[in-house]
Symmetry: C2
Subunit: 688 residues, 2 copies
């Protein structure tokens, strides 16, 4: 349920500043780009870029960069898959990985790639289905039902993954169809210390010196696919002042949540969520300290949590900035006055703001349960999914819980049956930590805790739950799912037993939230979306929704901490920062970089910044020049862009990318991966 704080989607108010926006491909900012940069986006350009862009289910973006299915993304997007393939003997995160022959390419355990092949406006169909409904709850069910129907119908007809996407707060609904790939193989990843040099301190900051790249190859039927839509590699990369594009999948923004929604996040949600994340880090750091193998096991989770804390801290600071709240308030008052002064709009949409505010107020009454009824456990999550799965698939599609609709089942199964390792010691540590946290927050009489603990200490409960479960074996999970309600009902697996007992509590909270909060947010969101179209037309972009977007901008430095940040960094800077910190972690050089320095041209551009409007989820997006050639690889935003969920500021908002010159130089001179460079640059036939 934690996503609530970042999944609410609302419509943009006010005017758009140059470079701002994550535009859908059906409504690109053609005029704005032409006015400022005298460049004309064509349909061919857009189609080619769209079909070369990839969404990865580990929360990032990517792109095809060769005709043989080679996909470029970030090391930090690939990190989870590297972790899942690593063992105590082979640590691909620490040492990197390079498959110098096709045979060495290493299967990712549960990675899915999506390519957006078509989109279709289905707003009319959904609005029609809502006719005759009255209450938000009725509308919610009707909407769920028609969406599931559209998705299922499309899946059956096309065989493609089909998602209905809510845009403009519900002002529009679109059906997005994706070609889906589930066999991705790891081709190349540098040492984490090269990809993530500077660690958590440097994360979300600039100047930066990171080679945050990884390469996968997409297979079908045991062979690399042909990918005729791929982006050409430009090893010279971008120069200061160049117009550049980013095509990727930004996760979520709240640029025009209502004021009530932002204040809910600031005053209620984030103050609960942040300490939980911090405590989870503490628990895992303690676990890591107990052995080198534990440290390896916990690495990716700590990385993810630290990243999240830095993001949420930035969001909270943004919301605590009086200027941001004042601007939001002024925008909302203006919009509201425009609606109220028009009798027809007022009649249709005038109560939306107050309705949302009342729903947010209601939500606060059950926020503690929402956040603290949690085990922080992979085994528990799998058990909950299995218990729900066998019940849900018996229901009509439109009535199922979110995540169990027909069109979502294949992706769900990929995750449920993933062979990725689960570490029992770490599970025990995490569950123990979570239960202590829950106890402190809720007290021992909480119904959830009573069921979980049954008089045991958190330590005892965690150990017995983990040791009494066989769910780390994907075959066991498969057998339960295939055995259906009967097998699950009869299971004595400790985690399944617990999930069965918690099921009623869990379902009650989901239903309560849907009926009292989400349904209101959806209906009122739709009203605001339509009100805005009525007043301003479709002159803007929708908030981010993990769907494909195009942003434009310029490679450009910015004012920073009293001076100016350069548009790019060089390899010299990597060595400067390492030696400035006496080569101590997280600023230590990989051995390869210490030994191989003399082979590198240190003047090579390493990372660079541009004014493109990107947020989390854009990680791994290609940076493109006018010719749709890859000139960089988005991997972060600067600290000044942490307010990006709420506002975009061209003065100092910057996306950070790895420069293609640095990737080319490193592949060739540091990693002996000349064959990959050949494939990227189209010289000779490339690797496959």
């Amino acid at each position: 349920m934690l996503q609530r704080i970042i999944l609410i989607v609302v419509l943009l108010a006010g005017t758009i500043s140059a470079e701002e926006g994550m535009w859908t491909f059906d409504n690109p900012p053609t005029q704005l780009i032409q006015q400022k940069y005298h460049f004309v986006l064509t349909k061919e350009w857009l189609d080619h870029v769209r079909l070369s862009s990839v969404r990865l289910n580990d929360g990032g973006s990517g792109s095809f960069v060769s005709p043989h299915g080679l996909v470029l993304t970030n090391h930090h997007v690939a990190r989870g898959q590297l972790q899942k393939n690593s063992t105590a003997q082979h640590d691909y995160i620490k040492n990197g990985f390079y498959a110098s022959t096709p045979e060495q390419e290493m299967k990712a355990q549960d990675l899915e790639a999506n390519v957006l092949v078509s989109t279709e406006d289905v707003t009319g169909r959904i609005q029609a289905a809502l006719k005759g409904t009255e209450s938000p709850e009725q509308q919610f069910r009707a909407r769920e039902s028609i969406i599931a129907e559209i998705e299922r119908e499309s899946t059956q007809k096309t065989g493609l993954r089909s998602d209905v996407v809510t845009l403009y707060q519900g002002g529009e609904y679109w059906l997005y169809r994706y070609k889906k790939y589930t066999d991705l193989r790891i081709v190349f990843a540098p040492e984490e210390q090269a990809a993530f040099f500077g660690g958590d301190p440097d994360n979300f900051t600039y100047p930066r010196y990171d080679l945050d790249m990884a390469l996968f190859r997409v297979y079908e039927n045991g062979k690399p696919i042909d990918s005729p839509n791929y982006l050409k590699w430009n090893p010279k990369g971008a120069d200061e002042g160049d117009l550049v594009f980013v095509s990727g999948h930004p996760g979520s923004t709240q640029r025009l949540d209502t004021l009530a929604q932002l204040l809910f996040e600031r005053d209620s949600a984030l103050p609960i969520a942040l300490p939980i994340y911090r405590d989870r880090i503490t628990v895992l750091q303690r676990f890591s300290a107990s052995s080198a193998e534990h440290e390896r096991e916990a690495g990716s989770t700590i990385f993810f949590l630290q990243n999240t804390v830095k993001v949420l801290t930035g969001e909270l600071q943004g919301l605590e900035n009086p200027r941001i709240i004042a601007n939001k308030k002024a925008d909302e008052e203006k919009f509201r006055a425009a609606v109220t002064s028009n009798p027809e709009l007022k009649e249709k949409y005038g109560t939306a703001w107050d309705d949302i505010a009342a729903a947010e107020q209601k939500m606060t009454s059950r926020l503690k349960e929402t956040y603290f009824h949690s085990m922080d456990s992979q085994l528990n999550s799998l058990a909950v999914d299995i218990v729900e799965y066998v019940t849900e698939i018996k229901k009509p599609d439109g009535e199922r819980l979110p995540g169990f609709h027909e069109s979502q089942l294949e992706s769900l199964r990929l995750r449920l049956f993933s062979p990725a390792p689960i570490y029992p010691d770490m599970e025990i540590a995490r569950i123990t930590g979570a239960l202590h946290r829950d106890l402190n927050a809720l007290g021992p009489d909480d119904p959830f805790l009573k069921i979980v603990l049954r008089g045991r200490t958190p330590e005892q409960a965690a150990a017995e739950l983990v040791n009494g479960s066989k769910l780390q074996d994907p075959q066991v999970r498969k057998a339960l799912v295939e055995g259906g309600q009967q097998a699950v009902g009869a299971s004595t697996d400790s985690m399944i037993v617990l999930a069965r007992k918690l099921d009623p509590i869990h379902r009650e909270l989901i239903k309560w939230t849907q009926d009292n909060v989400e349904s209101v947010e959806q209906r009122s969101g739709e009203q605001l979306g339509r009100a805005r179209f009525a007043l301003y037309g479709k002159s803007t972009y929708p908030d981010a929704t993990v769907t494909l977007r195009l942003s434009y901008g310029q490679m450009k430095g910015y004012p920073m901490n009293g001076t100016v940040a350069p548009a790019k960094t060089t390899y010299y800077g990597l060595y400067d920062r390492a030696f400035s910190f006496n080569d101590q972690p997280p600023f230590n050089l990989p051995q390869r970089y210490r030994d191989g320095m003399k082979n590198l041209d240190l003047t090579t551009p390493l990372d660079f910044v541009s004014t493109n409007d990107v947020v989390g989820g854009n990680s791994g997006s290609p940076v493109l020049n006018k010719d749709a050639e890859v000139v960089g690889l988005i991997f972060d935003g600067n600290i000044e862009s942490r307010l990006g969920d709420y506002v975009y500021d061209i003065e100092s908002n910057r996306s950070i990318a790895v420069h293609t010159a640095a990737m080319t130089e490193a592949l060739r001179k540091m990693y002996g991966a000349g064959k990959l460079v050949q494939e990227l640059t189209g010289g000779a036939a490339g690797q496959p």
Copy 2:
């Protein structure tokens, strides 16, 4: 009069945080250092460091670093003297300077060095002289008179430069005696582009990559002096975590001005001063653009002005920070309550805050004249000094204008008769700019402007004034001063004629300010100083007063812009920043650094930061280790320390220094100055 905004001295309230403070050598923070660092400051250590420390009249600090009178300071402190020795043919600022033989050492034209040889508490004598006086004006005159007497008496008795220094807001007065040197010769300076790499943008920021050093040698009677008190050179420099000391001459702080004084600066003085400085820069940049020679001529003045604007902008931002003002208010209320609740203190000192507030209020009525009755002209300043000089020296010492007391005359004459070049074209440009500025602010009927313009345009007046004056010739100035009132009264030199006419206006404003503002600030300041001693004893340090102070601290990084700044930088970083900006000014490398890179060990520490509490005036101060060896050279503070005039914050306040390893490496490998390194390190006999 611009100094008013930075010369008011008040006493520190509240408690002192670790590392805070610029301590006088009579009251060093021995206990604080012992507690935190387990190091005991001895009298021998303090005496040795004091006698090795040098004050330079160009506004900086320095230290003896060889037994042969070699003085280390910053390039930016030496910049004025380098400019004065440069010509269209020999540009020592652009190209640097190195005297590889004693004969090549080049005389600075008007540089004075002072070494503090003794100090004496004269508070009692001054308090005695004020007995029987009543009004602030009477006290002001009595104080001026006794101070002049003490200084003259000491000068006559010892032959030493003798200054009475106001400490603790007038809680104490000390007589400081200096050995004075007026023959300094330039031995070494790097190219400005090495010393000031990054220019105005990087100024007052960190990380930094500057070799901001210069070496002078002190001569007497045509020979290098013996300087038995000198600081040993440690070429390894400081390491992260080391305890380090700074001995230098911080200019001024207002850490405990009353709230009224700070608000006066924030709301009245700085809003007038800053635009004037900015306009002066614009005028000179326009002048610079007209030819390469003009650019060379204006360089040092633009440098100084840009530096000042960055300082004052920082001060204003500090004062606009509500937290700073709130803290100040709370401190003052606490102090005031303590005074008011004690009947004796209340009777003696209780009105001080209101008296100061009333004086500041009065000052605002004449602030425009104070700032705009200015010609921004060296010739005009010299003319004013000459006209006043011949009148003032006829008066009893105690009744003269500030700057004309007997003990100050030798230093004044050094400046008046300096052979440093004055550029007529630049004078015309500056005066024209100033008069336009004055006209805009005051209108054509202002009495000052009427006298200056006499119906002419600013362009005409400026040209006629400059062309009608011979004052750029130091012999002409000398003849006027030696000819006394008669010669000056008979002079038809345009600048002298103007200064005579403006003299009454000028004197009236000085007297009005003394009688209505300065006298009140001094009396009330003394009251507050005494009140604080009565309440808290002498547990603290006085605000900075361009006198010798000791600060202690630790070489240490700090949190910066979302990540951490390292304790030091390396030569790698110089090349990174240069290539990051495509080697474009102000981030271009000197040719020597492009050609000679392969000779340098790029891992050598270049600049470093420490928690020492320093402000403007500390430029050129040595950074010392426990053994009083030089390990660095202060040249700046970070952007976070720009509030240092008002507060010190150990979390992010940092001084910035050049590392001795970088200086040693550069002298040896870049500049072929191995002989200098030998002299510094005491290997062989050194240069002289």
